[in-house]
Amino acid sequence: MKIIVEYFAVVAEIAQTASECVMLADGATACDLLGEIHRRHPVLGRQGFVPLLAVNRRHADPDTKLADGDEVAVLPPLSGG
């Protein structure tokens, strides 16, 4: 299945892109996607923080099951306000 991954703030700077498509096996979870993202962008794993994930614009747990066409955002620790 095809997942659209979006990167923000410092994560986008590290990944050097704002968005990319990732193909995953059916039944994959957000955690599986994060593993694939770390394989593509190993520097992300050395930043000293665990990114938050949002699926279709809602915060999501790592065990969330993904579906074809989902939009998954990779969010560094938030600092609004």
Binding site: R57, A73, G80, G81
Partner: protein, 151 residues
Amino acid sequence: MRHHTRLVTGPIDIPAVTAQIAGGRDGAVALFIGQVRDHHHGRDVAYLEYHAYSAMASEEMERIAGEMSARFDIDRMALVHRTGRLEVGDVSVLIAVSGVHRAPALDCCAAAIEEIKRRVPIWKKEFFTDGTATWVFGPDGRCTPDRERHG
């Protein structure tokens, strides 16, 4: 129940937003105004940039307004967050809550800013007067270890 939640790129008009939610029958309007401070961890801030995942930020602010209104029995509230470049002293966030009594209005205001900081996908990048810049990590304001130069 009336909510106004907005992401804006220009100055926040505090009287206009407050007027939108102030109910003539309510006894209290509580405000929280967040503004850009001129220092962070002992360093002088020149300006900030707020970056947002705009589509989700708008939806999350709407969810927070709904939840806070229900929890504190509030009829009218506004959440406004500014993004882009902000100078020292600029207003970055405004929360306005109109309530029958002051206690729930104040409590709602205090809870809403904590929820915004915890949940709304917005990030702050600080540019210091010494020419360096860092992303701020987390609501407690920890900086990234690596500083980069800016113009």
